[in-house]
């Protein structure tokens, strides 16, 4: 990765960092990252155009949505390309709107987690001394706790709603990136450019904001992408137990949950699962491609 100073692009009117451009180039060269990026972009489009893609209202049982015996319609039925669910709602519409939930969950709690991680990592790394010790001890402590159980305990106490789920997911996933940010700051704080900034009289806020933060951007991007995949998995798990985003809002996890004893109609379980898998693979491939541009980083989470 080139450590070149920001170069103004002629005619563009914006300053593009050399580091960021080289990441983009690496991603484009890595086929897996391209595939991952395309998958994620595809889901983004589905999210934006969900009302156009969905042939029916996702939350309304259709008049002809069940067979004469009262059974859901299988995939391939005219009017219902992916079939209907147990109460006659269109699966394609529900899956398309479910993509909205999935992406909101992948992005918003993730943003919370990465913000907390950045602040904790930067402050701990830059402050040194007692602040450093206390912050990192707390981080390591939270990191080893069983995240999924803690999330469940929080949600059951505060009540399952979109807001609570979002905050909870953010709160149980900030630790690993925080430690990575911290490690990077510890390395950077010894660099000459930090010292020279201090020598010309820059205060801690200016050094953190203008000199350290920009260096962390590629790293944060990788963790944001990989974390997104975890978020989707975590919410699916919560949804499966009935403590995720609440019905009738269609979330892929809660769709699987509703169908968990409907083995007569396997598509009810398989379709949302495949969506989860595809989005997860997309984020992983993209994150992996980004990570390869920066060196090996691979966190994991347990469900």
């Amino acid at each position: 990765m080139s450590a070149a100073a920001p170069v103004p692009e002629i005619g563009a009117g914006v300053v593009v960092g050399g580091a960021r451009r080289s990441i983009l180039r690496t991603v484009v060269r890595s086929p897996s990252a391209v595939v991952g990026g395309l998958i994620v972009a595809g889901f983004l489009l589905v999210t934006i155009f969900a009302p156009l893609i969905a042939p029916h209202d996702p939350n309304v049982s259709q008049a002809d949505g069940l067979s004469l015996l009262g059974e859901p319609l299988g995939p391939g039925t005219t009017g219902y390309p992916l079939g209907t669910d147990a109460i006659g709602r269109d699966m394609l519409s529900r899956l398309a709107y479910g993509a909205r939930v999935a992406l909101v969950i992948a992005l918003v709690p993730n943003l919370i987690a990465m913000t907390v991680a950045t602040i904790v990592g930067l402050v701990a790394g830059y402050a040194r001394g007692r602040t450093e010790l206390v912050l990192m001890r707390v981080t390591e402590t939270v990191m080893v706790l069983p995240a999924f159980l803690i999330a469940l305990a929080l949600i059951i106490t505060l009540g399952a709603s979109l807001g609570v789920v979002i905050v909870t997911l953010g709160l149980v996933t900030w630790t690993y990136p925080a430690r990575v940010v911290y490690g990077e700051v510890v390395r950077l704080r010894e660099e000459i450019f930090v010292e020279s900034a201090r020598a010309v009289g820059a205060g801690p806020l200016r050094i953190i904001g203008r000199h350290l933060l920009p260096q962390l951007r590629p790293l944060l991007l990788v963790y944001f992408t990989l974390n997104a995949a975890f978020m989707v998995l975590l919410e699916a798990g919560l949804g499966y137990l009935g403590f995720g985003v609440q019905p009738p809002t269609p979330s892929w996890g809660s769709m699987i949950s509703e169908a968990r004893d409907q083995f007569f109609y396997p598509w009810l379980i398989i379709e949302p699962g495949l969506c989860l898998a595809l989005l997860g693979v997309g984020f992983y491939l993209l994150g992996d491609g980004l990570a390869r541009a920066l060196g090996p980083v691979r966190p994991r989470i347990r469900l």
């Binding site: 080893v144 999924f148 929080l154 059951i156 106490t157 505060l158 995949a229 798990g237 499966y240 347990r302």
Partner: protein, 305 residues
């Protein structure tokens, strides 16, 4: 080593105190009168008042907290509303099931993950390696509970080979153990592959090759031993999580361990039982983390504590 144990035990106690504070705060935050939960909805106000007094719910908050910490330290995790028994007794009943499942799952993870990782490394860049990486990526991205449901559908429902759920041993154990083990095996094989590749690229392997040692021996003797440290660490930590109760997998297969217990506790709003599960789960994770660090020093002489 003994200094290390002392420091780490102290750290674990501090962490546990944090966990207990957290569960205490959550118990407090639940907008529901614990005394009412104990006596049930039909009890008279006098009965509720009596239980409130017995439980000390009208004491100052720091008094209640001190009592709670004291009770937990003595192994008393409170009283379950839904089962009308001591939480500790319930968890002790369920623990053997979770242990059995955890051991079986780790077994699957070892047997599948390590050979796959070694094979991938030995054929790095080849077809086998690519297929292995693709499959492990898929296993990582798939929600394990969904894999469990699909296995349940195919193996138990469609083909009728195994029971649909429950705790019959051994047949009821097979699917949950495979489901849990496979997700872990995907990570294990990746860690194993990376560690083995690092060893293969090193000077010692070049020296062994020059000496005329066959590749097979190099892979099995040297790679395996040098890569053991990260893999062991990972397995120990996974084991801790499995022991804490895999809520999702146990719910899918109705396996009556700690995970299913916490799910049932949640469904019935049984706060003391859920908090008991959180505390016990955290204890396992912390202990196995400690064990992982200790094991690393034994396997890898380069690691000093």
């Amino acid at each position: 080593m003994s200094r290390f144990l002392l420091v780490r035990t102290g750290g674990i106690l501090v962490t546990l105190l944090m966990v207990v504070t957290f569960t205490f705060a959550l118990t407090f935050a639940v907008p529901r009168d614990p005394a009412r939960s104990v006596v049930g909805p039909k009890a008279t106000d006098e009965q509720v008042a009596f239980v409130r007094d017995r439980l000390g719910l009208d004491d100052a908050i720091h008094v209640q907290f001190a009592r709670y910490v004291g009770n937990v330290a003595q192994g008393d995790l409170g009283y379950s509303y839904s089962q009308r028994r001591s939480v500790t007794a319930i968890l002790l009943d369920r623990l053997p099931y979770t242990m059995l499942l955890a051991v079986a799952a780790i077994g699957v993870q070892l047997v599948v993950g390590i050979p796959l990782g070694l094979l991938s490394a030995a054929r790095s860049g080849g077809v086998l390696d690519r297929v292995g990486l693709g499959v492990s990526l898929l296993m990582i991205a798939l929600p394990p509970f969904w894999v469990g449901l699909v296995l349940l559908y195919l193996v138990a429902y469609r083909w009728g080979l195994l029971p649909l759920g429950g705790s019959d041993i051994p047949s009821g154990l097979v699917l949950p153990a495979i489901t849990m083990g496979l997700a872990g095996a995907a990570w294990t094989s990746r860690v194993m592959r990376e560690a083995a590749l690092e060893v293969l690229a090193g000077d010692s392997v070049r020296a062994l090759r020059a000496k005329g040692m066959p590749p097979r021996t190099i892979i099995f003797k040297h790679c395996l031993r040098s890569a053991a440290s990260p893999v062991l660490t990972m397995l120990a930590i996974d084991f801790g999580f499995f022991l804490g109760g895999a809520v999702l997998i146990e719910s899918v297969f109705a396996w009556p361990g700690l995970g299913l217990t916490s799910f049932q506790a949640m469904q019935q709003n049984d706060v003391p039982l859920l908090m008991g599960c959180v505390i016990v789960g955290s204890v396992f994770v912390l202990l196995l983390n400690l064990a992982a660090d200790a094991a690393r020093t034994l396997v890898d002489p380069r690691v000093r504590l």
